[in-house]
């Protein structure tokens, strides 16, 4: 699939270099872009990668609106973009269901919508969906931890889970996947607490969790940004009897995995360069082109990016595409 090649050919910013004749300048198009507030490393990388990708094309005018975590405000912003008559919209909704109707309005107005990551509720609301696999991310984390513990021969392990913002649906999906992954090995989560994607909250929650369980065997932390705080808490408590798996795949986390001198042994990627792909697709759609790597006239209607498990062994492959 295309994301594999993306991962290897991407430059540091995650923007794909021109390579095929599709990248030759075509009709001038305006791409509207709306995403939640970039208050967090992964989300910031999403916006940045989109912008960087758009800059690669001389024929793209890129319009990004203020990131917001208020669905009401995001709806207004998308409406504003519709009013500006952009050629194509790339939307990462704060809440997919909440933004469905406005996306549908755009489609009805003849503006194709690329749905990024958090999925809209109706297929009528988007032309193409590009996103990661939250369930798969949890699943892979669970499988990795289960396998590692089995290999160590731990019989009834204490497994911790530091989730992200708990009233987001993606958090729920990740946790569900994690549960299922562990279940395959007959394990279950021993303690689960939610932070809010910030290093600050990660530190706070983890320092308390370490008090709650005087022994842990493994921890999955949903997000590498909050992971900085989680790791700080572990170091400050002087605990190292367990290993940890991260999430999202930040450069910092991957460097640590590579160095292999902390409890962090792996991270499950949630690719932040998906926005670059989305911009690429958006441009093609607006210019009524097809995708030359694929056979056929039309672009696919959905593209699920794989949540790879990055360990010491394969970290070099992923490090260049990681967000910082």
């Amino acid at each position: 699939t295309s994301n594999k090649s993306d991962a290897s050919t991407d430059d540091v910013k995650g923007a794909s270099k021109a390579g095929t004749d599709n990248d030759k300048p075509g009709k001038q198009v305006t791409i509207g872009f709306s995403a939640p507030a970039a208050d967090h490393g992964w989300m910031a990388a999403i916006t940045k990668n989109a912008m960087a990708q758009a800059k690669q094309y001389s024929d793209v005018h890129f319009e990004a609106v203020e990131g917001t975590n208020d669905v009401n405000a995001q709806i207004s912003q998308v409406q504003t973009l519709i009013g500006k008559k952009v050629d194509v919209l790339v939307i990462l909704p704060f809440d997919g269901k909440a933004l469905t109707s406005v996306a549908q309005q755009a489609m009805d107005a003849g503006i194709p919508v690329i749905n990024l990551d958090r999925v809209f509720d109706s297929p009528l609301a988007y032309r193409t969906w590009v996103g990661g696999d939250n369930f798969g991310m949890g699943l892979n984390a669970g499988l990795y931890i289960g396998k590692a513990l089995k290999a160590k021969g731990v019989s009834s392990p204490v497994i911790g889970e530091i989730a992200g913002i708990d009233n987001l649906e993606l958090t729920k999906q990740r946790s569900a996947g994690f549960k299922q992954g562990l279940a395959k090995y007959g394990f279950r989560v021993g303690i689960r607490q939610a932070a809010d994607f910030t290093a600050d909250s990660g530190q706070q929650v983890m320092s308390n969790v370490l008090q709650a369980r005087s022994h842990l065997d493994a921890v999955w932390n949903h997000d590498d940004d909050q992971g900085i705080g989680v790791e700080a808490a572990i170091k400050q408590a002087g605990r190292d009897e367990f290993f940890m798996v991260g999430g999202a795949g930040s450069k910092h986390a991957m460097t640590e995995i590579k160095a292999d001198n902390s409890v962090l042994k792996a991270t499950v990627v949630y690719p932040s360069n998906m926005s670059a792909s989305a911009i690429k697709l958006a441009r093609l759609i607006a210019q009524h082109k097809g995708m030359n790597d694929l056979v056929g006239q039309d672009l696919p209607s959905s593209l699920t990016l794989f949540s790879a498990t990055v360990t010491k062994e394969n970290v070099d492959q992923y490090l260049p595409g990681a967000f910082s």
């Binding site: 909440a98 708990d166 649906e169």
Partner: protein, 353 residues
């Protein structure tokens, strides 16, 4: 004695200084809204107290029109208004509460709870009417609980409503199991998509709420008593007002506004979720304060609050139209707010003869 020099507008030496604003001179802050008793609705808008804010809004529109060709369109104006509608309705309730000497930090959480409750499968089975009723009832009941604890339990509003903020949102999470609940009742969703004469229903709702709120605040005994209670609670009590019951009603009113806002927001997003209305408490309080209402109560203007909401919404709209990056938007927002208040005060001063 009766022909004494009694210059009009000569105010006493005592300033009603706004909280936290150390006025060096005696007649700067909390200046009077000028002459005239109860303001008239339209007259009010352009007059003394809100003139400044009005000027700010006009200035913003000029900036918007100059920087973006898409600003001065009918379409864009409607986007601004619909976006302002939800927070506008909440701000009406908040204005009453703050004028009455209180504060409601739970508005965002109430919106979330009402939205989640009215979109459960069970509620949706009752159709449009059931859902709207449910949202309003949830809002009013949560407001009632706030009000009961504040007025009869006698705990400061800040604490009670911050506690409610946590509890109501927690309950919303519990009910929704942290999933967005999609609305399948089409008639409900059409609340947000319906237009009459080209104007969205949401804007009509806001307009009706503003007019009703204004009449309630300025033309009824309830409204005038609200000012009295916020301005001097002891005096109100000695005048025979039932301060507790009145306060209770203020919070119910605020809860009810949140219920209405929940209906509007839920229809707009076609789903209910426990993370709706995040930070609406700060947004609504900021709009009320920038609109000239004293945080300590007793003085204020509903029109000012609505202008405040419009100012904030317009700022965001202009940012989007001009394609600014988020960080620059944030920095600029802070500067604009301060500038707005300065302009507003200038306007107020010059308007006072």
């Amino acid at each position: 004695m009766s022909q004494q020099t009694s210059p009009p507008g000569g105010s006493g030496p005592l300033p009603a200084t706004g909280q936290g604003s150390p006025s060096g001179s005696a007649r700067q802050t909390g200046s009077s809204p000028g002459k005239g008793s109860g303001p008239s609705f339209l007259g009010h808008m352009g007059r003394v107290r809100n003139l400044g804010l009005f000027v700010v809004l006009v200035l913003l529109c000029v900036i918007g029109a100059l920087t973006s060709g898409n600003f001065a369109t009918r379409q864009n104006a409607l986007v601004i208004l619909s976006s302002a509608a939800v927070i506008g309705v909440i701000t009406i309730g908040q204005t009453f509460v703050i004028i009455g000497g209180g504060i409601d930090l739970s508005v965002g959480a109430i919106v979330a709870l009402a939205s989640v409750w009215c979109t459960t499968v069970a509620t949706q089975s009752y159709g449009l009417g059931g859902m709207v009723f449910c949202a309003l009832a949830v809002g009013a009941v949560v407001g009632l609980i706030n009000g009961l604890i504040i007025s009869y339990g006698n705990i400061v509003a800040f604490i009670v409503t911050i506690a409610m903020m946590a509890s109501a949102r927690g309950l919303a999470e519990r009910i929704s199991d942290r999933q967005s609940q999609v609305v399948t009742v089409e008639s409900f969703n059409s609340i947000a998509s319906t237009k009459w004469l080209g104007i969205p229903l949401l804007v009509y709702i806001l307009a009706v709420a503003v007019v009703l709120g204004w009449v309630l605040l300025n033309r009824t005994t309830f409204g005038r008593r609200t000012f009295a209670i916020g301005g001097n609670q002891e005096a109100a009590r000695l005048a025979g007002l039932d301060v507790r019951r009145h306060t209770l009603v203020l919070y119910v009113l605020s809860g009810l506004c949140c219920g209405i806002a929940a209906v509007m927001l839920t229809a707009r997003t076609t789903s209910g979720a426990s993370n709706l209305g995040n930070l609406y408490e700060l947004d609504s309080i900021a709009a009320v304060i920038i609109g000239g209402t004293l945080l300590t109560g007793g003085r204020g203007s509903l029109i000012g609050s609505i202008l405040g909401v419009l100012v904030f919404t317009t700022i965001t709209n202009i940012f989007v139209l001009n394609n600014l990056t988020t960080d620059i938007q944030q920095i600029a927002k802070g500067l604009i707010i301060v500038a707005a208040v300065l302009i507003q005060r200038r306007g107020r001063r010059t308007a006072t003869p």
